[in-house]
């Protein structure tokens, strides 16, 4: 299959099917409802499960039940909906079940708006649910990358027995771009006989499986948290992904930006280059684990005098950037969070305003 022109939301739905995920539960919310609309037609064609739940809360538990029964399963939502799912996400993480969530972010807080935003960064990377649960967070910068990340997400979720979330801003879901579906990123579902409630007869076992998140014994609960922590540490070793742009130059400023915002930054960098100001970019593709060492090392170049985090939020990722830089260079922030994406000109002004 060659390239096809597809809307991001529909491509995300198709990518899941290509990754062997034939189970989808969801609740409508702008700007990602097209995923549900697309899969309501596609899932019956491939013999899959499509169900529109009564709320995002219920959906998160449909995901939990299906994942705990051994199925590859995913859902999509947008910011306020993700807040409602966050309860279930915490349970799924505690019970160590694999599942994939997609957040096509809109502006907030509250009902906010329906236009693109990156204001759920802290929620996704630091505190998506109660009790200190963490998800592997991946952020695509276009439809093609969204497709690839969705397809990678399922085997990663199974590798870690932990939910994975794709954090895309509204533009990723709404824009159309040429996309090619890779054949090779899909994988066979992993063996889940050791833990999933697939029925004892199914796995020809006399040992029953129990999926739970309650550990009343403090030693057992601490033990479970150590298991989860070990997984997060392993993610830091094995899953960090990022891209660099114009870092062969003697850049004076390093921009840290992700998602749609990073594409605007690239345009600004090209224009600034023509004006004689070299600016580098590092784009985290995984937000948790955050490419902390790569950001620091990229900022350590002698020519680099300042670092700026540019985000469609009031400054969230900037906290991780500051932590990465460890006070070695000034770190500032520029962004907007109303739904209108900063223009290349605004980015240029922000960079020039650093007076390096």
């Amino acid at each position: 299959m060659g390239k096809v022109l597809m809307k991001g939301n529909e491509a995300i739905g198709e990518a899941a099917i290509r990754a062997g995920c034939l189970n989808y539960f969801a609740y409508p919310i702008t700007p990602q409802s097209e995923v549900a609309e697309y899969l309501s037609r596609r899932m019956p064609e491939v013999g899959g499960v499509f169900l529109q739940g009564e709320s995002e809360v219920a959906v998160s538990y449909m995901i939990f039940g299906a994942a705990a029964a051994g199925a590859r399963v995913f859902t999509t939502s947008s910011s306020p909906g993700i807040s409602l799912m966050s309860e279930g996400v915490s349970y799924i993480t505690a019970a160590q079940c694999p599942a994939v969530f997609v957040n096509i972010m809109r502006g907030g807080p509250g009902l906010g708006g329906i236009l693109p935003s990156q204001a759920d960064y802290l929620q996704a990377t630091k505190g998506i649910g109660h009790g200190g649960c963490r998800l592997l967070v991946m952020a695509p910068a276009g439809v093609q990358e969204a497709v690839e990340m969705v397809m990678m997400a399922f085997p990663l979720a199974e590798k870690y027995r932990n939910p994975v979330i794709i954090l895309g801003d509204g533009l990723i879901g709404q824009m159309m771009e040429p996309v090619e579906f890779p054949d090779s990123l899909g994988s066979e579902p992993s063996n889940k006989d050791d833990w999933a409630t697939t029925g004892m007869d199914t796995r020809k076992s006399t040992k029953r499986n129990l999926v739970r998140s309650l550990f009343l014994d403090p030693k057992q609960l601490n033990e479970n948290n150590l298991v989860l922590k070990a997984k997060y540490e392993r993610m830091k070793e094995e899953e960090i992904r990022y891209e660099k742009y114009n870092t062969d130059s003697d850049y004076k400023v390093l921009i840290v930006s992700y998602g749609t915002m990073s594409r605007v930054c690239k345009t600004a960098i090209d224009q600034l280059k023509e004006e004689g100001l070299e600016v580098g970019l590092i784009r985290p593709q995984t937000l948790f684990p955050f490419p902390e060492i790569a950001v620091r090392k990229t900022a350590e170049k002698d020519s680099c005098k300042a670092v700026i985090s540019i985000e469609m939020s009031m400054g969230q990722m900037v906290e991780d950037v500051q932590m990465s830089i460890q006070g070695k260079l000034p770190v500032s922030w520029y962004g907007k969070c109303g739904g209108d994406i900063p223009t290349p000109e605004e980015v240029i002004d922000a960079v020039k305003g650093l007076n390096v």
Binding site: F25, A58, M62, A66, G199, L210, V211
Partner: protein, 248 residues
């Protein structure tokens, strides 16, 4: 002559944590007997609630999932949709099902999800220490209705079986109790029917069981049975409210 009465295979050897006089033990046994008799233990998945029965999985010998408060019907939906061949049931109390989980149970019933819900109604939140539930009787004293449930203030107790029976989707909706041996036999028949409908893939099945909570009612087990018979049974009437045969 061999044993004529023994513990069901579906029931574990674990000593139960339930209080003296609590009816969960009887209901667990009935569920286990039905699962044994239908020969479905190897393909059954139970879903435990949040409440006194959160640890129900310790007492059964088949696959189990543990839900968040009220969400068991959504989890059961997830299981049953991806594995229609499994036999799935939720086991929920009245705080769990009739309060925080009301949305989940109504929509699961209305979609006609092919699983079974066992609803243990003892008119009170048990595990958290006897607070008022949506099913608490008028004037019943609880730790959050110390002067008795004031129906002017918080409304009348919810009759969940009747509420679900009003849905147009075919289903099996029944209320029984386990207060006395004669009732226990009827409760078991209802449970068996509910699981059989599920095995046949016919409909959602719902068995409400009027139960006791001597500890939180502040009564002896014997007094609790009497109280439930006198106060609860006239309000929570027993019987089948809906069968799938009606609609067909």
């Amino acid at each position: 002559m061999g044993k004529t009465f023994k513990k069901p295979e579906a029931l574990s050897d674990q000593i139960m944590h339930y209080c003296p006089g609590c009816t969960h033990g009887v209901i667990h046994r009935l569920v286990a007997e039905v699962i044994d008799e239908l020969g479905i233990r190897g393909r059954t998945v139970g879903v435990a609630p949040v409440g006194c029965a959160v640890l129900a999985y310790n007492y059964f010998t088949f696959d189990f999932q543990e839900a968040a408060h009220g969400r068991a019907p959504a989890m059961a939906t997830g299981i049953k949709r991806v594995r229609p061949d499994l036999m799935v049931f939720t086991y929920q109390g009245d705080g769990d099902l009739a309060s925080i989980g009301m949305g989940e149970i109504i929509h699961a019933a209305n979609r006609g999800e092919k699983f079974t819900t066992i609803f243990v109604n003892n008119a009170v939140y048990g595990m958290t220490g006897g607070q008022m539930a949506p099913t608490t009787m008028p004037d019943q004293r609880t730790t959050t209705s110390p002067f008795g449930r004031n129906v002017e203030d918080v409304g009348m107790p919810i009759k969940v079986a009747e509420l679900l029976a009003a849905l147009q989707t075919p289903g099996y909706i029944v209320r029984q109790t386990v207060l006395k041996p004669k009732y226990i036999n009827r409760a078991k028949k209802a449970l068996k029917k509910a699981f059989t409908y599920q095995m046949e893939g016919r409909c959602f099945s719902f068995v409400e069981l009027v139960s006791t909570c001597p500890t939180n009612w502040g009564l002896t087990p014997v007094e609790a049975v009497k109280w439930a018979e006198e106060k609860m049974l006239p309000y929570y009437q027993l019987g089948e409210f809906k069968t799938p045969d009606q609609e067909e």
